[in-house]
């Protein structure tokens, strides 16, 4: 049981638009600890909805039998999403989770450095910015993104970066505070395949180091996994129950 970091027996998510509503029911989904898990499925099936629910990014409404169990530590008891007080949600996000979005959501009015150290400063408000810089720089080097440290690139606005550079910067920002679980939502949608491979390597490496990575991915990027370089767990959502009213 405790080899899983998330365990979903059943959870519903209803999205209402005007007079119509769509309810997706996720059942029997277990996400293993310290692995790269791919969430796959057709467009609109609910991949992003699932990781938003798991990452407490969206409101979780649970009926009697509904719940998500989160096991931050194999030795500790599970956190039941059904019974998390609303004030604690922010603490859980801060303490355990990291996010990398489909759109990078970088702040263009800030420098590259300021963007990447932000999560670290949120987690440790009294940390010296120079220390956060050093951590970020070490991470950049670890990920083999040294070209980002050249020409004072990190001191300029991300608005001057290319799409790949922005996504790499978003990756560093997601990793800097060493989250227990990293949620990655379609990171390769706007970048070239070689850059995608580069990022995938980093994510895989991190999963090997003990980070649980849950990544939403489209079928078009299946080629990245064809040569079996990456040992991944796949969750296919194509079979989930969808009720339209």
């Amino acid at each position: 049981m405790k080899n899983y970091i998330f365990k979903i027996d059943k959870i519903k998510k209803t999205v209402s638009r005007k007079k119509k509503s769509v309810t997706r029911i996720f059942e029997n989904i277990n996400i293993p600890r310290n692995q790269l898990t791919l969430v796959k499925g057709n467009t609109g099936i609910g991949k992003t909805t699932l990781i938003n629910l798991l990452g407490l990014m969206d409101e979780v409404t649970c009926d009697k039998d509904d719940d998500i169990l989160f096991f931050p530590n194999s030795r500790k008891e599970a956190i039941s999403y059904k019974s998390i007080p609303s004030k604690k949600i922010e603490s859980i996000r801060q303490q355990y989770f990291g996010f990398m979005f489909q759109d990078d959501h970088l702040i263009d009015s800030w420098s590259g450095w300021e963007n990447v150290i932000l999560p670290e400063l949120i987690r440790h408000p009294f940390m010296s910015p120079s220390l956060a810089h050093k951590t970020a720089e070490a991470l950049i080097r670890e990920c083999n993104f040294e070209d980002m440290l050249e020409d004072g690139m990190m001191h300029s606005s991300p608005a001057t970066f290319s799409g790949g550079q922005r996504q790499r910067l978003a990756l560093i920002r997601a990793l800097i505070h060493s989250p227990l679980v990293l949620f990655v939502d379609e990171p390769f949608s706007s970048i070239q395949i070689d850059m995608a491979e580069e990022i995938l390597k980093v994510l895989y490496q991190k999963s090997k180091e003990g980070m649980t990575v849950i990544m939403v991915i489209h079928d078009i990027h299946d080629s990245l996994f064809e040569n079996n370089l990456f040992d991944v767990n796949i969750i296919d959502l194509n079979g989930i129950k969808i009720i339209r009213q």
Binding site: M57, E90, S91, R93, S109, E114, R123, F126, S157
Partner: protein, 539 residues
């Protein structure tokens, strides 16, 4: 709150000084800076208006308070037209009452009527004029001197206290009677060289300006001639106190009579005379010559009475210029130039006057009861007093007080409306500005929330930013508000302005609270939404 310490500074610093991406400075200014400068200017104007409104309100309140405490602000002035005695005015003071029910003045009314006059202060106005120590220069300044009887307010501490605050009592001539006090300002007293209160000048010479003006026909700058010295100085020692006496000195009644009536001590050159004598000294002169001379200068308003060795001339109208001693001496010199044996004798009618028990005054202050019911009916009171006393009445001060009280109430309401409007405008402006601002930062807030930033902390960031936005405006507005007070910029207008630090502090606190409230309201709605909702938000 921990998040505020560094993280808030980091965020706000970049919100106020965004990283430049724009190609030109002007583009950067318009896109990133103009809204900050513009907001600060608008907030500065709002703060300045609030401080000035408060200053005007405080100033008016202070002015009203000063007016209320000043008995002269509710005083009617009775002016020249008749002479008043203290006793007569005292009777009016006792009898005049205001009936609230009939809203009219009653003379000898029932006990429940309100007294109209609190105190009376009859006084005279005189001018002092000075000559230099060598009797050569007539000093060009005249000094307006108000004299009154100190007895009038000996038992009235409130008036005594008021006068004491603006003047200085000193014993005169070691005389312990109440009349022998001189009231001058402290500055004047020091200027006159006095350090010892008991010490007084030995023999100052005072004489009327009008006498010299008459004599010199307007030329007041050239040195005195021998004849003028003879007429006006009479070889008494003079002291130069020309630069020692300011305008509007107040002297006692006794001092007034010492200066103007006691010839034995202080010379009054152009006192009017009722009669004088011309002696022949054993010689003879035709009666017709004397008659023609008298007719020439005194008209027919005189009686010429022949005596054994001269004539007695009695003047019928003693208030004319011809009755003045300086003129009599001057005109007699024309006669004596031809008939050198003639001598003029003014002594028999020039005895020192005794101070009468009840002196006549040309002016008087009637200090009215400053209760609203009296001051509000000042027009009725003025009419009644005018009919009773038959003189010119200046009631401008009580009317001013009445208007000021009325305006003060109106101004208070107006100030509350203006300051409240400014605060509401401020609240709306901050709310609207931050609502719009936060809409542009909605992805950033969503992203920060996804990283675990607490909603409360994000709200504090925007409260901190609102304070950072308004602080320079408050500082500059405060400096200008103080500068208005220090440099009297409003002095040329009728506006009374007072920068009160306590009120300013309270106003600043309210402005800061309003600002925080505006920012909190703007941030509250956004930060309560889920990160996913914020990140997927599109305008």
């Amino acid at each position: 709150m921990k998040l505020i310490s560094f993280f808030a500074k980091q965020v706000t610093n970049r919100d106020f000084n965004p990283k430049r991406v724009q190609k030109t400075c002007l583009q950067y200014l318009f896109q990133c800076k103009l809204h900050i400068y513009g907001s600060r200017i608008i907030l500065f104007l709002l703060c300045l208006f609030a401080f000035i409104s408060l200053g005007i309100y405080q100033g008016t309140q202070m002015y009203l308070k000063q007016m209320e405490e000043d008995p002269f602000s509710s005083a009617i002035t009775l002016q020249v037209g008749m002479h008043y005695s203290y006793n007569k005015l005292s009777i009016i003071k006792e009898r005049f009452r205001f009936n609230k029910e009939t809203q009219d003045i009653e003379i000898n009314p029932k006990s429940d009527a309100i007294p109209i006059i609190n105190e009376i202060l009859p006084y005279n106005e005189n001018y002092l004029f000075f000559i230099d120590k060598n009797c050569k220069l007539l000093l060009g300044e005249e000094f307006n001197v108000v004299s009154f009887k100190l007895d009038c307010f000996n038992n009235n501490n409130w008036l005594k206290k008021y006068l004491s605050s603006g003047s200085f009592f000193s014993d005169y001539d070691n005389d312990n009677t109440s009349d022998s006090k001189i009231i001058v300002s402290k500055m004047l007293y020091q200027k006159m060289g006095f350090t010892d209160l008991k010490k007084i000048p030995n023999n100052p010479i005072f004489f009327s300006k009008a006498d010299l003006v008459d004599e010199r026909k307007g030329d007041m700058k050239s040195p005195l001639t021998d004849m003028e010295k003879k007429i006006f100085v009479h070889n008494l020692d003079l002291i130069n106190i020309s630069d020692r006496l300011p305008f509007d000195s107040i002297i006692s009644e006794q001092m007034y009579y010492l200066l103007f009536n006691y010839e034995s001590k202080y010379y009054k050159p152009c006192k009017t005379f009722e009669l004088f004598y011309i002696y022949f000294n054993g010689q003879k002169i035709e009666q017709k010559i004397l008659k023609d001379w008298a007719n020439k200068y005194f008209g027919y308003s005189h009686d010429l009475v022949p005596l054994d060795n001269g004539v007695k001339i009695r003047l019928k109208q003693t208030d004319h210029e011809m009755a003045k001693r300086c003129n009599i001496i001057k005109w007699f010199q024309e006669l004596s130039n031809t008939y050198k044996f003639l001598t003029l004798d003014l002594s028999k009618s020039d005895e020192p006057n005794q101070i009468p028990d009840d002196i006549d005054y040309s002016y008087s202050f009637l200090f009215l009861n400053s209760e609203p019911v009296i001051i509000d009916n000042i027009e009725i009171i003025s009419r009644k007093l005018k009919r009773t006393l038959g003189c010119f009445i200046d009631d401008s001060q009580p009317i001013t007080l009445k208007k000021l009280r009325k305006n003060s109430k109106m101004l208070k309401k107006l100030s509350i409306i203006v300051v409240s409007s400014i605060l509401i405008s401020l609240l709306f402006y901050i709310f609207m500005t931050f609502s719009l601002f936060i809409q542009t930062r909605i992805h950033m807030i969503g992203m920060m929330k996804s990283m675990g930033a607490k909603s409360r902390s994000i709200k504090w960031i925007y409260i901190y930013e609102s304070l950072k936005l308004i602080s320079p405006s408050i500082i500059i507005a405060s400096i200008i508000a103080v500068a208005i007070q220090e440099n009297n910029y409003l002095l040329m207008t009728d506006i009374v302005y007072l920068f009160d630090y306590l009120s300013w502090f309270i106003c600043v606190m309210i402005i800061l609270l309003t600002t925080c409230l505006g920012a909190w309201l703007a941030g509250r709605h956004v930060v309560s939404r889920s990160p996913y909702e914020l990140l997927s938000y599109h305008i």
